[in-house]
Amino acid sequence: MGVRKSDIVLLDDKGIRCDGRKIDEPRHIMIKAGVLKNANGSAYIEFGENKILAGVFGPRDVHPKHLANTDRGILRCRYHMQPFSVGERKNPAPSRREIEISKVIKEALESAVMLENFPRTVVDVYIEVLQADGGSRCAALDAAAVALADAGIPMRDMVSACAAGKVADTIVLDINNEEDQEGQADMPVAYMPNLEKITLVQLDGVLTAQEYKKCLETAINGCKIVYEVQKKALKDKFFGDNPQ
């Protein structure tokens, strides 16, 4: 389109990426559970440069009442980016992108949360992105899953999410912002590690069938790494100094 290609090297000859990671190495992940007092459950995640806060309320009464379902609970999810979360001020009103991400996060969590135990109620998940750096939907989903577990809402399994993608014709794990902008494909995946089930796959870009398979496998391996961090966050909060 006549746009000047950026001069950053996404992948050098030694297989090192633009931020110094290897192709199968995720960014640094830190999760803390139970950071908010007023929410029933909460979690804070730092996923590379992403900083995201998630709060969960419920199960509670549904308002407006007409949304209530008589034989199961409903899940509502709001993904929201703070005006200061990106370089240029972001309008705080929900954008098309935020509405879409709210929807996919809701659907990714719905298959894990046992809403059938709570008819006529709602579980609200609020996600605030404080700082965004590529792959924020996966990071948000990871935080939301920990917040749900922190709130004591029954879940079939944890939901762990991680992206993979294609950069300089190579499948790499956990795409960052530069790789997302300049790379060839981005594929966020959410996965239930114990049930071995996928709850979210999106793909932006073009992959061959073989690449697709490899990309999915890479992302699932990333999810398993994230799962260990989620597990540690919950164990630290609830079992603290008394590990088993």
């Binding site: 029933n40 004591g152 029954p154 944890m158 597990k231 164990k235 079992f239």
Partner: protein
């Protein structure tokens, strides 16, 4: 058999694959028994369950609860009982059978914010839990300090055959009313005793997962009273 195997679990953890009955807070998938809540899993001879460490109170028929009056209609009160559903206390239960909504004013008996010791009379998936105070020792609570703990920690506060609660009551001379929903009313004539009892409850809530907690509390109250 008293041989119970305990383990800390989070949702998704596979507790066992053996031929056990899946009980509370677990999910049977194939031959795996998977935890659905953060808590302590227990495997005993007949089944597997998880005692949750967090979460809302789920009403069960015949549970003794403490509710806070939230609002009322012309026929019933609505109680907050730290659950996902409000408790419904019918006016007839308080005024008797000759209750007349035209004459009797509900606020004359129970106002917003009042504490009520009650029992769950009926509850199923299709309607809000029905509350009753028509029994001995039930009704409006006149005095005491309200403490809120997680409903899942109530069994720990009571202890084996009431050992924990007896320890606190005898050491502090406080009267402690425990609702299954995690609302607790502590009353004590001696302010020192009240503070000690509140502190003991706080410690139990914080360290509910720690073994031998009764001894620790005994020690704490014993050393404080000297």
């Amino acid at each position: 058999m008293d041989d119970i195997k305990r383990k800390y679990v989070i949702p998704g953890d596979v507790i066992t694959t053996g031929p056990y009955r899946a009980e509370e807070n677990v999910n049977l998938v194939g031959d795996k028994i998977i935890a659905t809540s953060v808590g302590i899993s227990e495997i005993y001879d007949s089944g597997v369950r998880v005692i949750p460490l967090t979460g809302m109170y789920l009403p069960r028929i015949d549970d003794f609860i403490i509710g806070i009056v939230k609002s009322h209609t012309s026929l019933s009160w609505e109680l907050d009982m730290r659950s996902c559903y409000p408790g419904i206390l019918p006016a007839q239960d308080v005024f008797g059978r000759d209750f007349n909504p035209k004459v009797d004013e509900l606020t004359s008996r129970l106002k917003r914010g009042d504490l009520v010791a009650a029992r769950i009379a009926n509850f199923d998936r299709s309607r809000d839990p029905l509350i009753t105070i028509g029994d001995r020792d039930l009704g409006k609570i006149e005095e005491g300090e309200l403490v809120k703990i997680s409903p899942s920690k109530v069994p720990r506060l009571i202890g084996k055959r009431g050992s924990m609660i007896q320890t606190i009551e005898s050491a502090t001379k406080a009267l402690i009313t425990i609702g299954q929903n995690g609302y607790i009313v502590v009353s004590c004539e001696d302010p020192e005793g009240l503070l000690k009892a509140l502190e003991a409850i706080r410690v139990i809530e914080e360290q509910a997962h720690v073994p031998n907690l009764t001894e620790k509390i005994q020690e704490m109250l014993g050393s404080n009273s000297e």
